[in-house]
Structures are given as structure tokens and as C-alpha cells.
Amino acid sequence: MSQSYNRGLIEDFSRWREFSAGMWAWIFHKFTGWVLVGYLFTHIAVLSTALSGAAAYTNTIQALESLLVVRILEVGLLAVAVFHILNGLRLLFVDLGVGLEAQDQSFYASLILTGVIVIASVPTFLSGVSI
């Protein structure tokens, strides 16, 4: 063949406006998944302060928990986790061949439910934080 024009990846991503529900679900699931692995590693790292003694551990945790940013990040983490769980459930059902016709509705439902759960738990997450 003679020459041809390869439009490359840049152009693909500039198409995000044209993505459909299933594609958004895929992107969000990917993103949340990566955040969760990231968190898993950090989480274990923080917890391993326990190896250097009880006091070190308690101090680190309490110092962290008293920071507003950390609390806010935790809310973010909750959002990420809840979405990943709900959409994960959606995907599990899809794998079982259940509710394929409603795949877009179930994605929207996961989004909304995530929102609701996260908002409802904000007070719990922010309680007792010293500002």
C-alpha cells in the first residue's frame, strides 16, 4: 500500500466527549482500581509503623487522622471504593449475562448510589477532626 495517515492516540482521547456510558464505566473503573491499588500499598506502608512499636503506630495514625486533608482524602477514597465496588458488582452481573440490556442504567445507578453513600457518610468521616 502507499502512504496512509495514522491519526494516533491524541485524537482518540480528544474524543472523550463522544464516549458512551459503557466506556465511561470502563474508564472510571480503571481509574478507581488504580487508586485503590495505590492506596493498598500506602495503607500497608503506614500500618507497618506498627513494626517499630505501639507508640509509633498510634502516634502516626492519630497525627494523620487529625488532619482535615487526610479526612477529606478518606472521603475521596470512600467514593472511589464505593464506586469500584458497585460498578464491580455491575460487571460481575454482566459477566454472568444478567442485565446486559440495562448496562447503561446500572452504570448510572452505580454513580448515583456512590454519590448518596458518600454524602451520607461525610459526617462520620469528618467527626472529631481537630481543625
Partner: protein, 293 residues
């Protein structure tokens, strides 16, 4: 109106060794042809202007050989609307009346040959099966994403064909009836089960819409997997063949790559439930392997 490639300068020397009489006649003929051509273009423009009901198309242009088109660009065309006009009709009109170099594949005009899958207003559709009246203006028409552009709206289909042919896309069985007039029996239910999967017209819209296929060139893609489904689920092939088909599908770049994005299912002009078929095959593959534990 259109952004036609500028006319090239005429080359006078080509008419050298012809008799003067013929030259004159030729000249006259050419003038007449020229006149008709101009008249036609003027009429087209007139028609487009006089009708308020015109559609504005923005069409992707590229040609590796024409200097003006080497850098991809969008051209504007204004096409007079007629009841029932499709995107393909509009493209043909633009080609026949404004710019004969506007290039796209098309043949059947009835959604069966699968040649004119295009990227229209941000989604993969068959030009011939898309009514202009369903689209917002300007109608943006591009070649299929995730494929190399050969020229204008024509993309290179080789990779798609390779994937389709990678799944042994032909009927195989070890138990044909002996007589050449004896058919194999098939239940209605079974035929019903494979029915949708046999409707594929190889348009490649699904493949173009799938982000995984875009990222992983070796991924078989929804159409090829669907093709394999068509045979794997056909009871006439027999269990041993199904086994063989599942082995093909189970390879690293087979069914497991699908991330259930559903865009393939959404764009398929033949309404084939592709995601469902892929998912069913994943389960079949797992079941098949669990049997031997």
C-alpha cells in the same frame, strides 16, 4: 462553495501533432463540455442556495498524493435536503455536484454490503442507514477511528480482515451425512440462537468503537469473536469442534481482553448483541475448563 482543489494550470503542448480541423472540432467539443459542466455547477450552487433546507456537512479530507490534502483538513459542503436523504446520499450529492475527488466506499445503499461505516457526529454509523434528519448540524463526517486513513473517508481494512480470518471462520464438522441430497438437521432453537450472529456485514464499526481493540492490535475484536460464536454455538459442528473453537478464543488476545465496554453493541448496525455473545463465550470457556478439574 466547496473548497475544491485549485485547478491546475493547463498544459497546452499536449495537443501538438493533431490536424487543425480536428483541433477545431475538439476545441468546440471541449467548449461545449465545459459549458455543460459550468452550468451544472452553477445549478448545483443555485439549488443549494435557493432551498432553505440545506444540510451543512463537514467532511474529513486527506490524500497522500495531492499537496493540498496531505495535511488533513475538513471541507464544508452544503447539500439541498430531500425527504429521506441519508448521509450517504448527501456525500454522493456533494461528490457528483461539487468535488469529484471526494472519496468514500459505498455500494449497496441498503445496509448490507458493509462498505460505508463512517464516523458521523462522533459515532460509528453506516452512511446509507443514517437519516440526515436525525443529526445535528453541521454533520461532521470522518473516516473510522482506530484505522489508518488511505484517502478521505476510506480506511485500510486489512487488519480487520486479518482478525476476521484468524478465527477459522468457516463451518467444519466431522459428521456430514453421506448423501449429497441429505441435509444436516438443526433445531429451530439452535438456528434462532445463532441467527443474530450470522447477520454481521463486516463493516468494522464495532472494532473501530472498541478502546481495547484500539490499544491492543492483536485483540481479535468483537466482530471476529462474534464470527467464532456463530460456529461454536452451531450444533451442526459437533462438540469436538466447539472444543477447538474455544481454544482459539481462549488465547491471550481472545475473549479475555474484552472489558465489556458495550460500545461495539451500541454501534453495530445489524443490532448484534456482541457483548452478550462475548460474555457467553467467556463463560463457556471457563465451564469447559472446569469440567476437567
Amino acid at each position: 462553495m466547496s473548497t475544491q482543489v485549485p485547478e491546475q494550470v493547463e498544459d497546452e503542448s499536449s495537443a501538438e501533432s493533431v490536424s487543425p480541423g480536428k483541433q477545431k472540432r475538439d476545441q468546440k467539443k471541449r467548449e461545449r463540455a465545459q459549458r455543460i459542466q459550468e452550468q451544472r455547477e452553477a445549478e448545483a450552487a443555485e439549488k443549494a442556495r435557493s432551498e432553505d433546507d440545506t444540510y451543512h456537512l463537514k467532511v474529513f479530507r486527506y490524500d497522500p498524493e495531492v499537496p493540498e490534502k496531505q495535511e488533513p483538513r475538513f471541507d464544508d459542503f452544503y447539500v439541498p435536503y430531500k425527504q429521506g436523504m441519508t448521509v450517504l446520499d448527501a456525500l454522493m450529492w456533494a461528490r457528483d455536484h461539487y468535488d469529484s475527488s471526494l472519496t468514500f466506499r459505498h455500494s449497496c445503499r441498503q445496509a448490507i454490503c458493509g462498505s460505508d461505516a463512517l464516523f458521523v457526529n462522533g459515532s460509528q454509523r453506516l452512511g446509507c442507514k443514517t437519516q440526515l434528519s436525525d443529526l445535528a448540524e453541521p454533520v461532521r463526517i470522518e473516516p473510522l477511528p482506530h484505522a489508518d486513513v488511505v484517502k478521505d473517508l476510506v480506511v485500510d481494512m486489512e487488519h480487520f480482515y486479518d482478525q476476521m480470518e484468524a478465527v477459522e471462520p468457516y463451518f467444519q464438522t466431522n459428521s456430514l451425512p453421506d448423501g449429497e441430497l441429505d441435509e444436516q438437521r438443526q433445531t429451530r432453537e439452535n438456528r434462532e440462537k445463532v441467527k443474530m450472529s450470522t447477520r454481521c456485514i463486516w463493516c468494522s464499526a464495532c472494532m473501530s468503537s472498541c478502546n481495547i481493540a484500539a490499544g491492543d492490535n492483536e485483540y481479535l475484536g468483537p466482530a471476529a469473536i462474534n464470527k467464532a460464536y456463530r460456529f461454536a454455538m452451531d450444533e451442526r459442528e459437533g462438540e469436538d469442534m466447539k472444543q477447538r473453537r474455544l481454544e482459539i478464543l481462549e488465547q491471550e488476545h481472545g475473549v479475555w481482553r474484552c472489558q465489556t465496554q458495550f460500545s461495539c453493541t451500541e454501534v453495530c448496525p445489524k443490532d448484534i448483541p456482541l457483548t452478550e455473545h462475548i460474555q457467553e463465550l467467556k463463560r463457556e470457556a471457563i465451564k469447559n475448563n472446569l469440567k476437567f478439574w
